[in-house]
Subunit: 217 residues, 2 copies
DNA sequence: TGCTGTGAAACCGTTCACAGCT
DNA sequence: AGCTGTGAACGGTTTCACAGCA
């Protein structure tokens, strides 16, 4: 059993991805301010990172900077968006129209540049046919596989109870959704070539409790 | 600039904490099944981890196992709960009674063994005085500092828009809340001796998009 | 001069392999 | 024999330091 690198079948290291997300945010802000050029030092300072690290992160993908000058803000921003697959809008579908699913669908965190929440899916007949507060339609989960031809979701979010999570993952993978973000408190395996990111909210609470308990000594 | 280890002022490494959370879950399940003894191999297999890693994680805190036998399930479970500060129930307060805050307050992920969501705080007069679906009271954010004497919250969750996040953090830290879980898309700094964990939901989407973009080549 | 791109060093977490206890 | 606890090897990421180009 070669154990396929388990959870995050990384093509890109998670910390790198996180830093480049920050850098992209910084570039958006700088562009809005009309700044043309930025150095790795300025970017690093803004987020408390190491400048060399930012340069290394970028260098993995090409040579984007100008020696002695820094990076051209609009050019780097465009290149980064392309790199991160954000040059076009990614369609997101959420399985589970409970409190969490609907909150995510309407959340500003999920309705940002580059992403569009296309639909919520549920099995509860009372919810199906409705809409979330911001107007995301709630559809019958049974129709997800059919819709996959027309809808072409890029990311499937799992926001159902633990018992239903594996089935949700199976349906998403079976419908050709290539990436899954799972909020249920069980690890869903990365079938086929599907990227899975498990986000267990309970872990965050337990981690903080742990830190508090360890500190007191 | 010594740069105070930035985001996670770790006393415990994040991966260790995550694995021990898993182990604790495993122990709960095993105890429910009446299993008395478990080896690091059995625990590791259950979660796709390395047995030595689990032993090392535990060994940091003492010698809990019995050579040739394994670990006693009830004893290890008790010891782990104590270690992780879960021997008593931790009070959680959530700042921001919007969709996300209320969803978290009512979520099964937040209402687990060891945690109790005591209150939601908001500044919207129309929400104050109300309750979430499961009955968590929505209180006036201005009264949080006063309540800190009686309430003694262990963990403060920030579920407000980005613009309000720093102020929310300031109020929590000022009220003596020793740990913060921040869901707003800006990094809140770890003031004083306050533990901060930033969870940026946008990063998860961007990371998946990144993985998809990199794979296609 | 100034800042990028990058080899080399340092650091940290993971995995291996085995000594030691039951 | 079986399994823990742990030193040693390994691998990946971060940081340093500097060569090279504008």
């Amino acid at each position: 059993m070669p154990e396929k690198k388990w959870d995050r079948p990384d093509g890109v290291a998670a910390p790198t991805s996180e830093r480049l997300s920050l850098v992209l945010r910084g570039l958006r802000a700088l562009e809005a301010q009309g700044v043309h050029t930025v150095s790795s030092f300025q970017l690093a300072e803004r987020f408390g990172l190491n400048p060399a690290q930012i340069r290394k992160d970028l260098a993995q993908f090409g040579e984007f900077g100008v020696r002695g000058v820094g990076y051209r803000v609009p050019a780097l921003k465009a290149k980064l968006k392309e790199l991160m697959g954000l040059e076009r809008t990614r369609a997101v579908v959420i399985v589970g129209a409970g409190n969490l699913g609907q909150a995510l669908a309407d959340s500003r965190n999920f309705n940002v540049d580059g992403f569009k929440v296309a639909a919520l899916y549920d099995i509860d007949g009372r919810k199906i046919g409705g809409k979330s507060r911001t107007g995301v339609p709630i559809l019958d989960l049974a129709t997800l596989p059919d819709a996959s031809g027309t809808l072409k979701a890029d990311i499937g979010v799992i926001a159902v109870p633990a018992e239903a999570a594996l089935e949700a993952a199976r349906i998403l993978a079976g419908s050709g959704v290539p990436a899954i973000l799972n909020f249920a408190p069980i690890s869903v395996p990365a079938a086929d070539g599907v990227f899975v990111r498990n986000v267990d909210l309970t872990f965050f609470l337990e981690n903080l409790s742990f830190q508090l308990a360890v500190r007191r000594r």
